[in-house]
């Protein structure tokens, strides 16, 4: 099962210190390298900061464009990993290795399974 690890980081004023930024990069590098060596890394990427975000929704069938991310929260989506894991426990172990401080404050990881596009009727329960 592929799991997406959504990195929510707390944006603090001034952002991370140069030292923090270096540590974050090194910690991501280590996590990516380890997952890659295990052959479970599907992809991992940072997102550009929320000031670059644009939200699109349909209003009366026409796209309505607004500036910024959909939800105005302290914790912002900052990047993601997609890893191929046996089960949720393995995904949790990996999530615990992913740093969340790239925006300056510690955040959290949300784990979501990626079931893929349905190709056949879903199995029941």
């Amino acid at each position: 099962m592929r799991y997406m690890m959504l990195i929510y980081s707390k944006e603090i004023e001034g952002g991370p210190s140069p030292q923090q930024a270096l540590e974050q990069m090194a910690a991501h590098g280590a996590a990516i390298e380890e997952a890659s060596a295990k052959g479970i890394l599907v992809s991992a990427e940072p997102l550009a900061p929320t000031i670059t975000a644009t939200t699109v929704r349909l209003l009366n069938g026409k796209p309505l464009i607004t500036d910024g991310p959909f939800a105005e929260t302290k914790e912002q989506l900052a990047g993601y990993y997609i890893l191929e894991c046996q089960n949720l426990d393995e995904a949790i172990d990996w999530a615990a290795k992913i740093p969340t401080g790239c925006k300056g404050g510690e955040g959290c990881i949300e784990i979501r399974p990626l079931p893929g596009l349905p190709t056949r009727p879903p199995m029941n329960g």
Partner: protein, 412 residues
């Protein structure tokens, strides 16, 4: 026929947890397992009156349910083959197990209990799922015990099972490095069930006691499955010792304080078992929060009269408990214990010191504890004021009645 029905119900009560645990392992699905088990119990009701009750009824049910699983998997496989070219894999172990007699089917309840109490599920889901599968309570029974509409509870169960299935919460015992935290999660769920039944509330007394009994049963199962865990023993001891006072604690729908309880109503068998377990746990160690709370309950149980209570020892146990759980609530309990042997003045001083930050302002037990100490110090006006604060804050009818009675008594 009444005999048969009673026999079937007794097998359900005693063995459904083990049966469902095994069926989930075989089928990889909570829903398929439940369906197969229900069908097997239905078969028992129709077959046993003619053939007699089998010598090992649990194994009979397991074998019957296992066959139903295989039938269902075959049907599903055929249906899918017809539907499209992609075949649905029936796990090969499934077919291989057809002929295997189920007399000694392995006990998979540990996998089940760890899955139901997985920290990725919310507390409500953990409780509902644990009671439904390991407890063998029906959905209406659980809904009634939690004073919830049946549909709400059913929805909770559906969501929990979906999460297990779709997020792939594994049906496994945790690895040794994860065991402590996962076991703590199981213990917390069992204690939550117990407290739900124990909290004096306006709900149906009888049904709520079912929850206590069920929690104690689950506590026993946990101790049986992982026999060397001292905190599981501590938890079971704690529940038994609290439950031993059930008859004395509520009289005519009114709450009776520990101090005023008729100690001859305490269940001595539960106390003896609780004390023995607490002692056994202590030998294994280390003493965690459940054991410390059990030790406190044990000291109360051992006192023949309120005046014989070993308050210095209880105070020091609360002190140790504070190291595990540095909450104002535990600190409040310690202050009250200290008041009982160092003087109400000293107790009140400590209670007021705890309240100074304002963190306990909305907590009714803080005001109730203050009120009780002020009452003992004959500071009637202040006591009445504190009781009124407590009354305003409690949401529980039984507790409110108790506080009102106290308030009325000091006004006389």
């Amino acid at each position: 026929m009444a005999d048969i029905r009673a026999a079937v119900e007794s097998v359900f009560r005693q063995e459904s947890g083990r049966i469902i645990a095994g069926l989930i392992r075989m089928s990889g699905s909570f829903d398929r397992a439940e369906e197969a088990m229900q069908e097997a119990f239905a078969s028992a009701l129709s077959v046993w009156p003619d053939q007699g009750i089998p010598s090992n009824p649990g194994a009979w049910i397991m074998t019957a349910a296992h066959r139903k699983l295989i039938d269902a998997a075959r049907k599903e496989s055929t249906r899918r083959k017809k539907q499209d070219a992609v075949s649905y894999d029936v796990p090969s172990s499934f077919e291989a197990e057809i002929e295997e007699p189920a007399m000694h089917f392995p006990d998979e309840r540990l996998r089940l209990i760890f899955t139901c109490c997985h920290p990725a599920l919310n507390n409500e889901a953990q409780v509902a799922l644990t009671l439904r599968t390991l407890g063998g309570l029906s959905t209406p029974e659980i809904a009634k015990a939690f004073l919830l509409p049946e549909a709400t509870l059913a929805q909770r169960l559906v969501r929990a099972k979906r999460k297990i299935h779709e997020a792939r919460i594994p049906y496994e015992e945790p690895s040794p490095d994860h065991l402590p935290e996962r076991l703590a999660s199981v213990q917390a769920v069992i204690y939550l069930i117990f407290n739900e039944g124990y909290a004096a509330s306006s709900g149906d007394d009888l049904v709520r006691h079912d929850l206590c009994a069920e929690a104690i049963r689950l506590g026993r199962v946990l101790c049986e499955l992982l026999p060397h865990e001292s905190e599981s023993m501590g938890l079971l001891a704690l529940m038994l010792l609290h439950d031993s006072r059930r008859k004395a604690r509520m009289v005519g729908g009114e709450l009776v304080t520990l101090e005023e309880q008729d100690r001859s109503l305490w269940c001595q068998a539960a106390i003896a078992e609780g004390l023995q377990l607490a002692e056994k746990a202590l030998k294994i160690g280390p003493a965690g929060p459940y054991q410390l709370q059990a030790a406190i309950a044990a000291l109360h149980s051992e006192a023949k009269a309120p005046g014989e209570t070993d308050w210095p020892q209880i105070s020091s146990l609360y002190e140790k408990l504070l190291e595990w759980n540095p909450s104002p609530v535990v600190a409040l309990n310690r202050a009250v214990a200290i008041a009982m042997w160092q003087g109400y003045d000293e107790g009140l001083r400590r209670v007021d010191a705890l309240g100074a930050s304002g963190a306990l302002d909305r907590y009714y037990l803080f005001h109730a504890a203050r009120a009780d100490l002020l009452r003992r110090l004959y500071r009637t006006a202040e006591a009445a004021e504190a009781y009124r604060r407590a009354v305003d804050l409690t949401t529980n009818a039984v507790e409110r009645n108790f506080l009102m009675r106290r308030l009325a008594a000091i006004k006389l």
